[in-house]
């Protein structure tokens, strides 16, 4: 039984996906029941395991493919950090999406790929070997495409195309990296460090670069970020999925795995590739914020903010020190909670008030208090103001920078904070302090839309206020660091 747990968790979203595909358009009830049931079941399973794993347990399932291709599913603390994030947010997003779409056409296709997407993410989280990581990574790429293109209008198809245009070459680079590495070391399992002495430093650096190229695209590292702002043509639930639950997270998670479980922090430092990556991440942080400043569309601004925020995680990983790592891991969750809040709210503004542009936000605060409060809190968290979760990551990243001899990281964090404030505060100002335009309408009588946002907000708030407690993301990240799940 325990050996099958990883597979079970995978199935909780895989089975609904497969069944949903064959449901006909009209059977809304059954479809929603499937999606929700799978999501709830998954969360339940994870809660069960959280306790077991906190107690030191680890579950493993191996499915042997052709020699060299080991499909290894493993649940350890690090895997659980990511999978619990994605599972929880998946549940929220499912509730939200069901309300968001109502009875639109093509929903069977949507929810099918939606669940498939989450199954892939779960697989990424649980992957215990490089190749299984790659397999699920690609599955994610493919299952995301129909979601981005869901509306099937010109913009969506264009966005979907540019998504693949970025994704496929980068996954080719990833495959090259993996094959190059494994042709020298044999199959790479995250549990035991591969013996890299067979490769000379130069090739190792090249392999590392290829890895970053492969994962950097999903993590939207400049200049591989172009697809992310374009993808905001997709419906809000998809944005939530891209920005918080699955895609960019998968990229960042990949970077973490490569640095700590494939190369090992020591080797990364020895090769001198960590700091360049940190510089790249910092450049992305700044650049994303600068671009966000220029956007007049809410979701576009949020998208660029993601570009900037996700690189916090990469930065933390690249610093290759305990504090940086903890900060990065914690931010993996924090950013997810805060960004999904923002996208939920953006979606609510869109469907309930027909507002997509920032100018349209004027005076919506009093009219849609719950949504706007969540949005404001999420934005403040992004800026990194206490007690929202953001400031915790920031503190750890800052100390991580100093500890890794990269004090300029502090400057980056400072600049990013100010820029975040510069592009978020005007929104809040419009929400709460400006007079609404006379023809403005909008209400929030849609609990299924608002409640997920509120829950996510509370999560982000709790993650900050209770940061030091063991149950918080920070606590879990610290546990991971202490246990040495990642070296």
């Amino acid at each position: 039984m325990t050996a099958l747990l990883p597979v079970l968790i995978l199935l909780t979203s895989l089975v609904p996906a497969v069944i949903t595909f064959f449901l006909d358009q009209e059977s809304h009830l059954l479809r929603n029941a499937l999606s929700l049931g799978g999501a709830v079941l998954k969360v339940a399973l994870i809660v069960v395991m959280l306790f077991a794993v906190a107690g030191g347990a680890a579950y493993e399932t191996t499915i042997p493919l052709a020699p060299g291709l080991v499909l290894l599913l493993r649940i350890d603390a690090l895997a659980l950090l990511f999978v619990s994030l994605s599972a929880t947010l998946w549940l929220l997003t499912t509730i939200y999406a069901i309300a968001y779409f109502g009875t639109q056409p093509e929903l069977s296709r949507f929810f099918g790929f939606f669940s498939l997407c989450v199954a892939a993410t779960t697989g990424i989280a649980l992957s215990g070997s490089l190749i299984s990581f790659f397999i699920f990574f690609e599955l994610l790429t493919l299952s995301t495409w129909p979601l981005v293109a869901h509306k099937q209008d010109e913009a969506s198809l264009k966005a979907a195309r540019s998504y693949l245009l970025y994704a496929l070459p980068c996954s080719a680079a990833l495959l090259w990296a993996i094959v190059w590495l494994e042709s020298a070391t044999g199959p790479v399992l995250f549990t035991e460090p591969p013996d890299l002495d067979g490769l000379d430093p130069m090739s190792l650096r090249a392999i590392f670069a290829l890895f970053i190229l492969g994962f950097g695209m999903k993590a939207a590292i400049v200049p591989l970020h172009g697809w992310l702002p374009a993808a905001m043509a997709a419906p809000a639930p998809v944005s939530a999925l891209l920005h918080a639950v699955a895609v960019v997270k998968a990229g960042a998670f990949g970077v973490i795995r490569v640095i700590y479980d494939v190369f090992g922090a020591a080797r990364v430092a020895e090769l001198g590739v960590g700091i360049p990556l940190a510089v790249l991440a910092s450049a992305t942080i700044i650049w994303g914020s600068l671009r966000a400043l220029q956007q007049h569309d809410i979701k576009k601004r949020l998208a660029f903010s993601t570009v900037s925020q996700v690189s916090y995680i990469v930065l933390g990983a690249a610093l290759a020190g305990p504090y940086g790592m903890i900060g990065g891991l914690a931010h993996l969750v924090h950013q997810g909670l805060m960004k999904i809040t923002l996208f939920f709210c953006a979606g609510i503004y869109d469907v309930r008030a027909g507002v997509r542009s920032i100018a349209g936000l004027n005076g919506l605060g009093p009219r849609m208090p719950w949504t706007s409060t969540c949005f404001s809190l999420g934005a403040l968290g992004m800026i990194g103001l206490p007690p929202m979760a953001g400031f915790v990551s920031k503190i750890y990243l800052g100390i991580g920078g100093l500890e890794s001899g990269a004090p300029w990281v502090l400057a980056v964090l400072a600049a990013s904070t100010l820029l975040n404030a510069a592009y978020f505060l005007p929104l809040l100002y419009r929400l709460w302090f400006l007079e609404p335009s006379p023809d403005a309408t909008g209400d929030e009588n849609a609990p299924a839309l608002v409640v997920p946002a509120v829950i996510a907000t509370l999560g982000a708030l709790g993650a900050g206020v209770l940061a030091a407690s063991a149950v918080s993301p920070l606590g879990w990240a610290t546990l991971i660091a202490e246990r040495g799940d990642i070296r």
Partner: protein, 489 residues
Amino acid sequence: MSALVTLLVLPLAGAIAAIALPSPVGRTAALAAIAATTGAAIVLMATVAFQGMPRLEMGGWTPPLGIVLVADGLSVALIVMTALVMASAGLAARHAFAPGTAGERAAFGFWPLMLLLWSALNVVFLSRDLFNLYVGIELLSLAAIGLVAIDGKATALAAAMRYMIFALAGSLLYLAGVVLIHAAHGTLDIDLIATRTAAAPDGLALALMTAGLMAKTALFPFHVWLPPAHAGAPAPASAMLSGLVPKASFAILLRLWFDTMPDRASDGALTLIALLGTAAVIWGSLGALAQVRLKLIVAYSTVAQIGYLFLVFPLAGGASAGVPWAAGAWTGAVFLALSHGLAKAAMFLAVGHWMAVAGSDRLSDLRGLAQLMPMTAFAFALSAVTLVGLPPSGGFTGKYLVMTAAFASGQWAWALVMGGGGLLAAAYLYRPMAVLFARGAQAGAAPPSRARQAVPLLLASASVALGIASAGPFDLLAIGRPLAAEEGL
């Protein structure tokens, strides 16, 4: 071992029945033969997997006088793949060549030709005698040419004639090689030749045979006949032509270079072959990019995919023979061949459904068919995944194995070809996907029943399953794997 005979005889018998008996009965007989042969193929696979390689010396004559049939891992893998494709093509043909829909001659001719093709394929996969292989490949070509010409249109006839020229030229070159070998060694049995003492004409013979088989496999630059031929034929025929026929001559090439005279393989020659393969990948992909008709895109993709297969030669032959990664390379190439066969057949069958609805295969006419026929669209997408070589498909497994071998042997270039080819494939397969997915005018005719749509989906799923459960096929292929490809990595 009785399965060996049935695999050759059953299709032939079915073909004769289809010709002899009146139309409805003939068709039923043909379908029965298809079912039976498929069963036999699976039985044979089980036998090989669990009892080892059955060997049949025809009429009790031992080589060099007689002819032997042996079923090793490679042959059964190909045979089962063939059976799957044939069965699906047969199911599709039940409607495509129903007397009402197709022309009288086509409705009559399809079944015998297809069964003849099948038995020829089985001959090629099973026999260990160079001349027997010649006969097999020749019959194969004739049946294939017949299928190309089956609907009797002028363009189809021209395509068939073009195909015929290349095919005959190829067989003659091959025959010349056979003659030379017999002149030198007095035997044509593969295993006996493998243990021969090298002789002067071997090189020439190998060169002649290889060139001839390349022409038949439609390797660049001898691919020009393929796109018009495959695109001109009716969908079920195209499925077989594109998915199966090139594999036969490729299988013979594998046997030549890895079983018959691995000792002759020189790095120069192997590199030349792989270079042609590389050229085919690039040329075919770009050619596909230039097309506006879906069937031509798919056909050109066959040209490109065939190119992959030829990368195996420098990776598992010559200096690489017997080194740790050779097994990976050799098996990977076969994986590519198998998954391509399944996926390509699925694609052509799907396109057939769309043509039946949209009335043409111009991309502009296929807008929005994904809504109308989601299952076939999904099948096409899955096949695309295999051809691009994305996990978890058989195409990926093969690609991974070959690339690993390439890196391990330091011949990175071939790995780059693999990866780059995948990207090109994505590029030319994305266009049809996008068109199908776009919101567009729905076509007039009613879509085929779900059951019929399921056929290509099953094939495509098989090509993906090949990757998900790749351990089994890998072990199967290890049975009777050439010594050149020793187990390693």
